[in-house]
Amino acid sequence: MENQNLKLDDGSRIGVIGGGPAGSFFSIFVLDMARRMGIDLHLDIYEPRDYTSPGPKGCNMCGGIISETLVQNLATEGINLPPSVVQRGIDSYVMHMDVGSVRIDTPLQEKRIGAVHRGPGPRDVKEIKWASFDGHLQSLAIGRGANIVKERVSEIGRVDGKFQIKSRSGSPETYDLLAVATGINTGAMRLFENLDLPFEPPSTTKTFICEFFLGLDQIEQILGSSMHVFLLDLPRLEFAAIIPKGDYASVCMLGDEIDKELIESFMGSNEVKDRFPPQWNLKVFNCQCSPRIAMTSARQPFDDRIVFIGDIGVTRLYKDGIGAAYRVAKAAATTVIFQGLSGEDFKEHYWPTCRNIEIDNSIGKIIFMVTELIQKSKIARRAVLRMTAAEQKEDGPQMRMSTVLWDTFTGSAPYREIFLRTLHPVFLLRLFGNLARSLFG
């Protein structure tokens, strides 16, 4: 009976822990939908980070790619990403392998992928020219009525079935709904240990991100508006990319527990060295971090009056974490406004979106297993290169390998869709033809 009363109403209070993309998206959508429904809400976002400070103080540690699907979805939502936030519009990517490189252009010759810094820039930035992406989203949430509490949450308890948040210097605040968007790189998990929730956090692995200051002109000359991805035969490395931004190039390495040895092997490869000016010291980074990424989904990321969104709940495997944050934040917002706040409401209306991402990730694992096989086989690498290069020359509509690679590396399409495209008879015929030519040619 009590669950039927778990609804948002005029004056209801929502506490959002974490003001990264998931927390801000959730706040934006909840407040937008509440306005449409004529509900007057109070919403506090707890975020101690200062998005005007360079380096770790204002950064949420991520490669900073906004996929083309997300750019389009946000534009449709009325959330445009201005050039003051996007450091570089990406219109192509270049795939580098030991057997050669191939450039793949976006079909419409349009810059539809955004490269951003999550904060205002790396720790040694001298002049802040671009605003923080996370700060931009937060300002949109503030514009819709969200209050920012620049405090770290120190304790969470329950009072009359509702959650109560205590921050270091503020007084305890009680909320009808708690949205948890802390990500997985904070110590926030301990806050939930004594709350007797069915929630269990996702398992994680360590990645590596570093920044090199090249300056605007060198970035333009050497990297251009292309994301440079690497398919190298290095054990434990699933994916690596150099992403051009304003004055910096971000190197992003994903795989199984990326460590110093693997970083040195990658930076020492000719394919990577060739992307930098001659004699460039690839052992000195202007900024670096080793954030953890989720490899599985959280167990039951919801209960009565509480929902976990973003990386701490369910996210996409390796790619498009911000896109996944957008999707689950929207699903959570829709649930609390139109359905209710009970665990049952979340199970019925929020969990299906998470489950779709979870199922898609299991297909993604198969795709990355195949990618690993290609990384290990020189013949396969040659075949992929040959097939992609031929498609790019043809300039026709049948860019089967190009679109598969594009969507795999940019995270622009669900893994299921990519996988189905690889089963198309024409794709398989061309791939086997190129494999045969690579073997005997």
């Binding site: 959508f29 937008d32 939908m33 449409r36 699907t69 750019v71 389009q72 979805n73 534009a75 449709t76 939502e77 009325g78 445009n80 990403l81 201005p82 050039p83 003051s84 936030v85 996007v86 450091q87 570089r88 519009g89 419409l108 010759q109 349009e110 810059k111 539809r112 955004g114 490269a115 951003v116 020219k129 671009w130 605007l216 333009e220 508006s225 304003g246 999707r327 929207k330 699903a331 829709t334 979106t353 779709n356």
Partner: protein
Amino acid sequence: MDTGALGKVYQNGEVIVRQGEVGDCMFVIQEGEVEIIAEMEDCEVRLAVRKEGDFFGEMAIFERDVRMATVRALGEVRVLTVDKKNFLRRIHEDPSLAFRLVETMSSRIRELSEEVAQHKETREQIEEPDPCDDQIE
């Protein structure tokens, strides 16, 4: 700073969408303005001007028909393409994505209704002259 400009830039007078062409996408204006023009047999009629944040070409998302108007850049303009396939897939997953589109289309219907009412009123005045005018003559 413009390295981060998303979308595609069109120069003044450049055609973004041509009347009669088959469309499979809509557009969101990121910066600048466009004019929407109906091309008649011997003249052009400007139907509307759209500015930053507005979208155009949305009928192609819902109808299998040709573009009903031409869209041209008014000065330099930057627009982002939204693919029909991606958009419809997302609406299927999250119908609330269509809220803003519906709100905008509703407001455009309101504007059009007002224009039609004004045109009708003007036409009626022309067809039925004021009887007082005859008396003066």
